[in-house]
């Protein structure tokens, strides 16, 4: 977690993914096929103002982009990837005032498909607020239907 020597992915995240920048997400650690991303707390992230809970959709956003970063960290050269599907299980509420941490890990890189899983937590990694799992398509390898223009 050295601030002095930014990993290229950290720069990419900050400059090329506007939505992550808008939410304030920061990649804290990058390994080979592994990342740790922090979502700093802010009031606009609440999903239930009465109960004081961070929105599950914020965790979903953190997972989708963090999983993408984990895959890029595992590839020898950057290539376009696209989420095929994503599942979130919300194990317990994420409370206001605390940051969210995502730890994501690439489980398998196949020629065309990559599987990733991860967990989101606040102050105890053993007490996750959400578990997530996703499949991605490596779009450089074939003409991918997921990247077809919508028109």
């Amino acid at each position: 977690m050295s601030a002095s020597k930014a990993h290229p992915l950290q720069r990419y995240y900050a400059t090329s993914v506007p939505h992550c920048g808008a939410l304030g997400q920061v990649i804290e650690e990058v390994g080979r096929g592994r990342v740790r991303v922090r979502q700093p707390y802010a009031d606009f992230l609440l999903g239930d103002a009465e109960r004081g809970l961070i929105h599950t959709s914020v965790q979903l956003s953190l997972v989708d982009s963090g999983f993408g970063a984990a895959i890029l960290s595992a590839l020898d050269a950057p290539e376009p990837i696209a989420t095929i599907d994503l599942r979130m299980d919300y194990h317990r509420p994420a409370v206001a005032g605390l940051d969210l941490i995502l730890e994501a890990e690439v489980d398998r890189i196949a020629r065309q498909i990559v599987f990733v899983s991860g967990r989101v937590w606040q102050n105890d990694a053993e007490q996750p607020t959400a578990l997530a799992r996703a499949a991605f398509m490596r779009t450089a390898h074939k003409t991918p239907s997921v990247l077809e223009p919508a028109t």
């Binding site: 609440l46 239930d48 009465e50 989708d64 919300y90």
Partner: protein, 142 residues
């Protein structure tokens, strides 16, 4: 009535208000107006998958709040998303269907499209805990 309930849901769900979600009361169609800070990839100018996912999850929660007249925000138990096409730099729309509403849990399906409702960009489905007598702020989601 739907309009008032929608406005009241937005007040209780600040992140839905931040995303800029709108609802057409007559058709029941939700819209996520395109905005630069929803972009997930500068080069492709595609809407971020997390923003689309958040749009669908919020649409499902809000639709449940409105149609089931929930006084509190339904708690998501799980949510699954299939991304079918890349979401371009334009407005997205969503329509929800409650496939099952039990006493405590409801299942909602959401379909998202941009220009053509027959060409969905994404579909989502999730389970939500409804308010009950047992509900309290400290309860875990499950």
């Amino acid at each position: 009535m739907t309009h008032e309930r929608f406005q009241s849901a937005l007040q209780r769900i600040p992140y839905a208000a931040y995303l800029g979600i709108c609802l057409d009361s007559d058709s029941g169609i939700f819209t996520l107006p395109f905005r630069d800070d929803l972009v997930g990839n500068m080069h492709l100018r595609a809407v971020h998958g997390g923003a689309i996912g958040g749009f669908l999850e919020n649409a499902a929660m809000i639709w449940l709040s409105i149609t089931e007249d929930q006084q509190r925000v339904p708690k998501p138990v799980d949510f699954s998303l299939d991304f079918l096409r890349s979401a371009q730099a334009r407005d997205s729309h969503a329509h929800c269907e409650v496939l099952r509403k039990g006493r405590r849990v409801a299942q909602v399906q959401v379909r998202c499209w941009q220009d053509d409702p027959q060409r969905p960009v994404s579909v989502g489905r999730g389970h939500f805990l409804l308010e009950s007598d047992l509900d309290s702020a400290s309860d875990p989601a499950t």
